[in-house]
């Protein structure tokens, strides 16, 4: 028997969902599903199936839950399943939470010592015909794309030589290679980064290692035609923290930020580190190499955005200080300095959870799709709570050429999750296709999948789920040409 204490932060729309689900032929409102959308919008996120063992454990420890909207000839089915990791199975067998704080194994129940602690809750990818749920503390977990049942960890036939695998690998659109990495690659508290190239058939074809200036979270990277770019900094950890039963990372605002640039034709010893006043770099949109310059775009927070990673100076997390702006950073490889140019390219805040048209990975691109909060839009506080100005209520197509934002407003009781872009066809111009993403409808207590024309940002149809869907972190469109969804 489980007791799910009704905490002050798990009420109403935010209460645990817990169930697995199948909905066949989902209700569609406002239009028809385009018949050229064949594949699935797959997302992963989650919630604690059993409450956390310690009160300071947070959102990154929630049990993974993978779900998909399966599109086939104008019909959409929904499926949601827990990612059945060894951790999830052990908890279920014991009917309670056996695992302690985020990436801290020292206070787990002794019965699970040595067991893989990952919850595989961060991102999903498809590569070489396989579907994976990812979390940066472990190997990828393979998932059956037809059933969404969990198959198990995958080490690329023993050829992938890191204990960890990022949630954000990147793809070379020309070769189909997956370029991936793991930090803390040799185990807990190690400071080596393992970089690996996996060809389009799933075979490891190249690898290298290097060390960071200090051990820190390295959540995402940029792939250009010639370089890999690794932002890091601010998040710190050590054995003293872990032995004091703290979560893996603390936020040290006195720690410098770094950006590592690794030539794709070099090896680990060729990495060059640029230094920056500290901002919190979590996600990056993309970048390119132009001559001897590397240029990236990213949403950067002016402080740590995660309340469950406490400040090392003892001050409380302050949510009013975590604004995210879209930046462009330019690194001059000819320069002898360790500094670089940084400009804010849109004056209004927007989310770092944005996407470009993946076919332009590594090259110049013009459009970024991301979410933002427009406080001037209406919000029905009586039906959805006092969240006016606080919800992400718009998707935006951010045009880097004109600096114009084309919005799509989700509704006056809605809050948006991350979107995904689907090209109209393989050869369609950049940004021509569909944008889709899930909106939480706080009044109707349900999830709604918005499908829009990505150029005009007009809504084409909305898929209605008759329940709240478990909050997802990242999602991705995967076409029928990538995976066999049945």
């Amino acid at each position: 028997m489980v007791t799910l204490t009704q905490t002050t932060t798990r009420q109403g729309f935010f209460a645990p969902g817990r169930f697995e689900a199948d909905v066949f032929d989902c209700e569609v409102q406002g239009g028809k599903i385009p018949e050229d959308l064949n594949g699935a919008f797959v997302r992963v996120g989650g919630e604690f199936f059993y409450p956390s063992m310690y009160p300071n454990d947070g959102g990154f420890s929630v049990d993974g839950y993978i779900s998909m909207f399966r599109f086939k000839k104008g019909i959409v089915d929904y499926r949601g399943r827990w990612v059945k990791t060894p951790r999830w199975k052990a908890n279920r067998a014991a009917n309670r939470q056996l695992f302690g704080n985020y990436r801290n194994p020292f206070f787990d129940d002794p019965s699970v010592k040595g067991l893989d602690r990952t919850v595989a809750n961060t991102a999903v990818v498809a590569h070489a015909g396989k579907l994976f749920a990812l979390k940066e503390d472990a190997l990828p977990y393979e998932i059956n794309p037809k059933t969404l049942e969990t198959i198990g960890p995958w080490d690329f036939n023993g050829k992938y030589k890191s204990e960890t695998f990022t949630a954000h690998p990147r793809w070379d659109p020309v070769t189909g290679d997956m370029i991936t990495y793991g930090y803390e690659a040799s185990g807990l508290l190690t400071n080596d980064i393992y970089v690996c190239v996996v060809d389009k058939h799933g075979n490891v074809k190249n690898e290298t290692r290097f060390k960071a200036p200090y051990l820190s979270m390295m959540h995402d990277m940029v792939l250009t035609e010639k370089h890999l770019v690794f932002p890091m900094g601010g998040y710190v950890t050590n054995m003293k923290r872990l032995k004091a039963n703290k979560v893996h990372w603390g936020w040290d605002k006195s720690a410098p930020g770094y950006i590592g640039i690794l030539p794709r034709d070099g090896d680990g010893k060729d990495v060059r580190w640029f230094k920056t006043p500290l901002t919190a770099a979590v996600h990056v949109f993309g970048g390119r190499t132009v001559g001897n310059k590397v240029i990236i775009e990213a949403g950067l927070y002016n402080s740590n955005p995660f309340p469950f990673f406490e400040n090392t100076d003892g001050s409380p997390f302050d949510p009013t200080k975590t604004t995210c702006y879209l930046h462009r950073q330019t690194f001059d490889l000819n320069s002898k300095r360790d500094g670089f140019e940084d400009e804010i390219i849109f004056s209004d805040p927007a989310s770092d959870l944005g996407k470009i048209d993946d076919r332009y990975t590594g090259q110049a691109y013009r459009e970024i799709f991301t979410t933002y909060a427009d406080p001037k839009r209406p919000f029905d506080e009586a039906r959805a709570g006092n969240l006016r100005g606080r919800v992400s209520n718009c998707y935006g197509r951010f045009d880097l050429g004109t600096k114009k934002i084309t919005p799509l407003f989700a509704g006056n009781t809605h809050s948006l999750q991350e979107s995904t872009f689907v090209p109209k066809s393989k050869n369609a111009p950049e940004g021509e296709g569909y944008l889709m993403g899930v909106a939480s409808n706080y009044a109707e207590m349900r999830a709604e999948l918005i499908i829009a024309d990505a150029q005009s940002m007009t809504e084409l149809a909305r898929v209605i789920l008759p329940f709240r869907s478990s909050a997802a972190l990242h999602g991705k469109w995967m076409g029928d040409d990538e995976l066999d969804f049945g």
């Binding site: 009704q6 002050t8 932060t9 798990r10 009420q11 109403g12 935010f14 959102g59 955005p305 309340p307 409380p316 997390f317 302050d318 949510p319 009013t320 506080e381 009586a382 039906r383 959805a384 709570g385 006092n386 969240l387 006016r388 606080r390 919800v391 992400s392 809050s415 999750q417 939480s440 706080y442 009044a443 207590m445 909050a471």
Partner: protein, 89 residues
């Protein structure tokens, strides 16, 4: 009609029960909080599409929607219309 007024309708009972249940579940900070206030003690607030406890107390307190899971959305309907909506009613 006079006879009906002596006996509360099903929807009136449902609404009353739900509002009562909601009221008892509300932490005091939510009931007291309002946008613009700067409480000096921890406050439940909305952040990144979740509710969190803001230890600084700087954020506006979250107030859930009125009538959530209550009969609010159908209170304008007649008893007959409700019977049509709900086969079991």
């Amino acid at each position: 009609m006079a006879g009906q007024s002596l006996q509360p309708s099903r929807r009136a009972l449902m609404k009353g029960a739900a509002v009562l249940a909601g009221a008892t579940a509300l932490p005091a900070a939510w009931a007291a909080g309002a946008i613009g206030e700067t409480p000096s003690r921890p406050v439940v607030t909305f952040y990144m599409d979740q509710l969190i406890i803001d230890q600084t107390g700087k954020s506006p307190a979250y107030r859930p929607p009125a009538g959530l899971r209550s009969a609010g959305p159908v209170e304008h309907l007649s008893d007959a219309e409700i019977r049509l909506l709900q086969g079991w009613a």
